[in-house]
């Protein structure tokens, strides 16, 4: 549904995006990660049709945003980073106005507005003005706006910003429900646990360049370490580990009788077998838990070192 090929964006001399390529299919959620100024919002603004790219191509539902911008925009629901609605309109009036902009006929408008208000849980706020809404309800209104006309593609820029934990939970459920409906969703966020929970894939960008694009599961497995707990004499266990081969010889002491070592997933069972054969009394053999924050910090800091 969303396809970007070698997309670049230059602001004067600043290269905000450098040959970015991604694709997001139906029923898939892609999390776009990166530090401030990495180019996330620029990428999403291009995908929403608000900004032009300097080079490369972006397609929504097979339609080029450069050549068929209007038709492509009709397939997209876009939530900008700081969503603001005009203050003079009530929530329900705003949604009716937006439904008109999205070519929803007058007959269908009331039903459609009611549908999206129910979906995001703002029907109780229908007669409130935008500035009277809390941050969470403002975001919900933005999402309701995105969902008008049931577009197959959703582009959400920092949808979790400013939400409290309960609102985040609600919002996560809404996004997961939309994924189930088969929508292609791309969103940027600084709230990494949320990304880890709901995204199928993540794309980490830094200084406009792709650092990594992978499934969340895969990403969390990269550089995973094995924690080995043993019993008996610590020094003896350490010397026996050194005899087990190169992988186990590189074990680092975490504390007495506990060692940490990098072992490839395919080799883990064999290494355990080796340790037992060498008479090491293994009492624990676990995989150290990593989260997206660790992975993100790793990729961004390594990029900073390279940069």
């Amino acid at each position: 549904m969303i396809e970007i090929k070698a997309l670049s964006k230059q602001y004067g001399r600043v290269l905000a995006l450098d040959r970015l390529s991604i694709s997001v299919g139906k029923g898939e959620i892609l999390g776009l990660l990166g530090p401030n100024g990495a180019g996330k919002s620029t990428a999403l603004k291009i995908l929403s049709g608000y900004l032009p790219q300097s080079s490369g191509e972006a397609y929504i539902g097979g339609l080029s945003l450069r050549e068929k911008s209007l038709q492509a925009r009709a397939l997209v629901g876009y939530l900008p980073e700081n969503f603001v609605a005009p203050n003079e309109l009530y929530v329900v009036e705003y949604l009716r106005y937006r439904a008109g902009l999205k070519r929803i006929t007058r007959k269908q408008r009331t039903a459609e507005v009611l549908r999206v208000m129910k979906l995001v849980g703002i029907e109780q706020r229908a007669k409130q003005r935008f500035d009277a809404l809390s941050k969470g309800f403002k975001q919900r209104l933005g999402v309701a706006d995105c969902l008008l006309g049931n577009p197959p593609v959703l582009i959400l820029d920092e949808p979790f910003s400013g939400l409290d934990p309960l609102q985040r939970q609600d919002f996560r459920n809404i996004l997961c429900g939309l994924k189930e409906e088969g929508k292609a969703i791309i969103f940027s966020s600084h709230v990494l646990p949320e990304v880890e929970d709901i995204a199928d894939r993540v794309l980490i960008i830094h200084h406009g360049k792709t650092r990594v694009a992978a499934d969340v599961e895969q990403l969390l497995c990269i550089n995973q370490q094995v924690v080995i707990s043993t019993q008996g004499d610590h020094d003896e266990n350490l010397s026996r580990l050194a005899e087990c081969g190169d992988e186990l010889a590189s074990a680092v002491v975490l504390r007495a009788n506990t060692f940490v070592v990098d072992i490839d997933v395919s080799r883990r069972a064999q290494c355990l077998q080796q340790m037992i054969e060498h008479g090491i009394s293994v009492t624990g053999y676990s995989i150290s838990k990593r989260d997206l924050e660790d992975v993100f910090a790793e990729f961004v800091s390594s990029a900073a070192e390279v940069g």
Binding site: G49, P52, Q53, I104
Partner: protein
């Protein structure tokens, strides 16, 4: 057409509920009522009431001093304010063409400006109800001319409003363009050169006072005002669409 009418309705509604617009209306009607009061008290107007319409709809200095300012203030929120408060991004990412955005905003401002001029017709209705003999051809002519001139100023104001989120620049820029269009041709109108000829033919006070307000609706004047308005609307469109062109 649905997105166009949706935006037109929203813009009309936004103008209709804006306190600032009501302040503008109050100032407009107060000053025009004052001008009406002063004019009606003068002996030569009392002697010939047909001289009154040009004062309110055409050659009155108040008209020329006020008119260039009001459209920019009215159009301030249309692009500049939307840009400033970030509501322009959701609008321009909706499936609506840039030309429809410009035209919907323009027609909303034009329709609303009819209230400004329509209110002045009330003064003449008041005189008519009190038995005064009025030259309605001049009144209607002056009304049409003033409306067309205001629509031109609305087009220039929209253009100035599209420059960015700076409200001072939007209002000041729009007023500056309007004053230049009013008074620059006056500097050259006694010149014998081609420039003088162009100036005489494009001097807006002349077109209104000697044409519309004298009940002469000249197709040249109508076309001149309509084309000039179209030019500024096109420039506004270019300003908006250039966002997508300039990589």
């Amino acid at each position: 057409m649905t997105p166009f009418f949706a935006l037109l309705r929203k813009e009309l509604f936004a103008l209709g509920v804006s306190p600032f617009v009501y302040v503008l209306l109050a100032v407009w009607f107060s000053l025009n009522a004052l001008l009406f009061n002063i004019s009606i008290d003068t002996q030569y107007i009392q002697a010939d009431l047909s001289l009154l319409p040009p004062y309110l709809f055409g050659s009155g200095m108040l008209v020329w001093l006020l008119l260039p300012i009001f459209p920019p203030l009215l159009c301030l929120r249309m692009f500049a304010e939307e840009h400033r408060v970030s509501t322009l991004e959701p609008l321009l990412t909706a499936p609506i063409t840039d030309s429809a955005v410009v035209l919907a905003k323009y027609f909303a401002a034009c329709l609303f400006f009819l209230v400004f001029w329509g209110g002045l017709l009330f003064f003449f209705l008041l005189l008519d109800m009190h038995g005064a003999t009025l030259d309605w051809a001049r009144i209607i002519g002056g009304f049409v001319g003033s409306c067309l001139l205001s629509f031109l100023f609305i087009a220039t104001s929209l253009f100035a409003s599209s420059w960015g989120g700076n409200l001072v620049l939007a209002a000041g820029g729009g007023a500056a363009i309007n004053y230049c269009m009013l008074f620059l041709p006056a500097l050259f109108q006694y010149d014998d050169s081609v420039l003088g000829e162009v100036s005489r033919n494009s001097h807006l006070p002349n077109l209104i006072s000697n044409g519309f307000a004298a009940a002469l609706i000249d197709s040249y004047a109508v076309m001149y005002l309509v084309l000039l308005s179209s030019l500024f609307l096109f420039l506004t469109y270019l300003r908006l669409v250039s966002r997508r062109w300039i990589p």
